[in-house]
């Protein structure tokens, strides 16, 4: 792999700006074994920063995590190059991809900040050799498919801007800085390379240009994305649906799947089995049945051998809830000893609750959400916790509590069975197609254009960048590349 930096001027309108261009030639290099990744693309990073700031910030910096830069600006550029290099070595295009890149002050306050933003600068339709007519393609992909650069040579295909002040000023989440190392060892910092890999993927086409809130297509035409985005209840793609139908399906939890051959082929090797909780027993009543659950990052993971136990609730709040944030009282300890403890979300970490019920003798924990929504996992590091734990929705928690109202001090007659379903995959639908993110309340920009948060292991293109991500973008660990291949890369 050859990397070269050529100083250029960006445009006549930006005379004061120096631009450094990093040409990342990845010819003939394949970083991964995923089929179709044997070719390469050239990604050109066009430095949009003025002298002394952003990529040109002269603040001294110690080399970190394989990043040999000795100034803040150098390290930023090297990290950017690294992410672009990863994509460049994996994609296949004869047309160089230009990314206008900059580090600039972006919106932030003491506790929140925009890390960065990226996306396609323009979309194209009905260009020479377009695989589908009347369909929008992002600029970089359209150029690859057309075999010619459709975009003006002075313009970029992708724009990417990141926050130059993150953690560096009192008004921009002080102390929370980008980790500029290349070794996926960010700790409590923000892993810039992971964020870049994610954001560049959006710019390459990992997004719909159809409005996920209204369902309106861009100027009446679907995006290439919409031809693969499938409403798995009606079995119609977004390209086949009305705006109202699209808007409704964007709010249907587990209702949207990706119907591309490359992703579907890679799903079985990438995703783990689906965790499940089954409730039964003579007193289960309306709570009888199978529950969707989020799994814990701590404790004994669920397996094919089911874990069984009688459910008993912790009650340590005046309203009847049980937070289990402190050592359990003698009465609560007696209640949950040898049982599966039902506790409520809130006030303290999930791992703290698990630790407290474990110390009281519980053999498992079910955590009921305190906020309405869909199932979610329980992060946390706690090697001292051995019991299995699952998390259920608030609605399911209320259902379970109703069944427990007839309990005695030590028995409930409500039985839990925690296991995995080897036939189902965590993050896939019944047909083993990858699920897309479609929360019941629309999240503009997050909905539809990301993978589901139920995927296990976590995927690069979920709405949040999780701490356990590697920098991999291809199967078997990650499903980002096959989706880009589905849309034409």
């Amino acid at each position: 792999m050859i990397t070269a930096k050529l100083p250029i001027r960006v445009s006549a309108g930006a005379l004061a700006r120096l631009a450094a261009v990093a040409l990342l030639f990845a010819a003939g290099v394949a970083c991964v074994a995923w089929p179709g990744a044997a070719h390469a693309a050239t990604i050109v990073i066009v430095n949009q920063n003025a002298p002394g700031v952003g990529f040109n910030d002269p603040t001294r910096a110690e080399p970190v995590g394989g990043n040999p830069g000795t100034t803040l600006g150098e390290q930023r550029l090297i990290a950017f190059q690294h992410a672009a290099d990863t994509w460049g070595a994996t994609l296949d295009s004869d047309i160089p991809i230009r990314i206008d890149a900059a580090f600039e002050p972006l919106s932030c306050n003491a506790t929140s900040a925009v890390l960065g933003a990226a996306g396609a600068t323009e979309v194209w339709a009905n260009f020479p050799a377009a695989p589908r007519t009347n369909t929008w393609y992002p600029a970089a992909l359209a150029a690859k498919l057309a075999g010619e650069d459709l975009t003006d040579p002075g313009d970029a295909h992708i724009v990417a801007t990141f926050n130059s002040q993150l953690g560096l000023t009192p008004t921009c989440v002080p102390g929370l800085t980008f980790y500029l190392g290349l070794d996926n060892n960010a700790g409590a910092q923000i892993d810039l390379v992971a964020v870049l890999l994610h954001e560049i993927a959006h710019g390459l086409g990992f997004q719909s240009f159809t409005d996920d809130e209204t369902g309106l297509t861009l100027l009446g035409r679907p995006s290439i994305w919409d031809h693969y985005l499938l409403d798995n209840r009606s079995n119609r793609t977004w390209a086949q649906m009305t705006s109202a139908q699209r808007a409704a399906s964007a709010r249907a939890w587990r209702g949207l799947s990706w119907n591309g051959a490359n992703v579907t082929a890679a799903v079985p090797g990438a995703l783990g089995p689906l965790p499940v909780l089954s409730i039964s027993g003579g007193a289960a009543g309306a709570a009888f049945g199978r529950y969707a659950v989020g799994v814990a990052a701590f404790g004994t993971p669920l397996g094919t051998t089911a874990f069984r136990g009688e459910v008993m609730p912790v009650v340590d709040q005046a309203n009847g809830n049980g937070l289990a944030c402190t050592t359990l009282s003698a009465a609560n300890a007696q209640t949950v000893r040898g049982k599966v403890a039902l506790v409520d979300r809130g006030v303290c970490d999930y791992a703290v609750k698990a630790r407290n019920v474990q110390a009281a003798g519980a053999t498992g924990m079910i955590l009921a959400d305190s906020v309405a929504g869909e199932v979610a996992g329980m992060p946390g590091e706690a090697p001292d916790i051995a019991i299995p734990s699952v998390r259920i929705t608030r609605a399911d928690g209320l259902r379970l509590k109703t069944a427990l109202q007839t309990r005695s001090r030590t028995m409930s007659g409500v039985m839990a069975r925690m296991s995995i379903d080897p036939e189902r995959l965590a993050g896939a639908d019944d047909q083993r197609r990858m699920l897309m993110y479609s929360p019941t309340v629309n999240a503009p920009g997050s909905s539809v254009s990301h993978y589901t948060t139920e995927a296990s292991p976590n995927q690069l293109m979920e709405p949040s960048i999780n701490a356990d991500l590697s920098h991999e973008i291809a199967p078997p660990r990650d499903l980002t590349l096959p989706l880009l291949q589905d849309i034409g890369w």
């Binding site: 919106s107 932030c108 003491a110 100027l219 939890w253 906020v371």
Partner: protein, 141 residues
């Protein structure tokens, strides 16, 4: 055991508290997300625990409906048609995907990906815009 109605209680307890004015220090930057007129950090008091927390998606939507008219995406540039029929639309910043981070009082960080200035505004000022599920997934409590 008291079981609260998930619909009734938020109406009784929902508390819109503007703690501070946001500081969009990037508003001057040419490519920074556009600030919207409504600013401020919003929290709700949890009906069951009594603690302040970021609003859920449903609560955010309800608050937004009561406190401000929904904003619209900026108008898109016109369609450009070439001689051979090829067509293009310049997107500008309208479809940029923003990566946003929020640090909780315990120092733990939630990270979210949102699109457009609206999504950024919602996240910076109202917590996770997409609902409890993704917010919760990456919370530690």
């Amino acid at each position: 055991m008291r079981i609260h109605s998930p619909l009734a209680i938020p109406m009784l307890w929902l508390a819109l508290i503007s703690l501070c004015q946001a500081a969009p220090s990037a508003a001057q930057a040419s490519r920074a997300p556009q600030a919207t007129p409504q600013q401020g950090l919003t929290v709700v008091r949890d009906a069951e625990t009594g603690e302040l927390r970021a609003p859920s998606a449903a609560e955010s939507e309800a608050l937004r409906a009561r406190t401000a008219a929904p904003s619209a995406r900026p108008p898109l540039p016109a369609l450009v048609t070439g001689a051979d029929g090829r067509e293009s639309v310049r997107l500008g910043n309208s479809r940029l995907v923003y990566s946003v981070v929020k640090r909780g009082p315990d120092g733990k960080v939630d990270h979210q990906c949102v699109e457009g200035a609206d999504g950024v505004h919602a996240h910076l000022n109202h917590g996770a815009p997409g609902g409890a599920q993704e917010k919760a997934r990456h919370d530690h409590r």
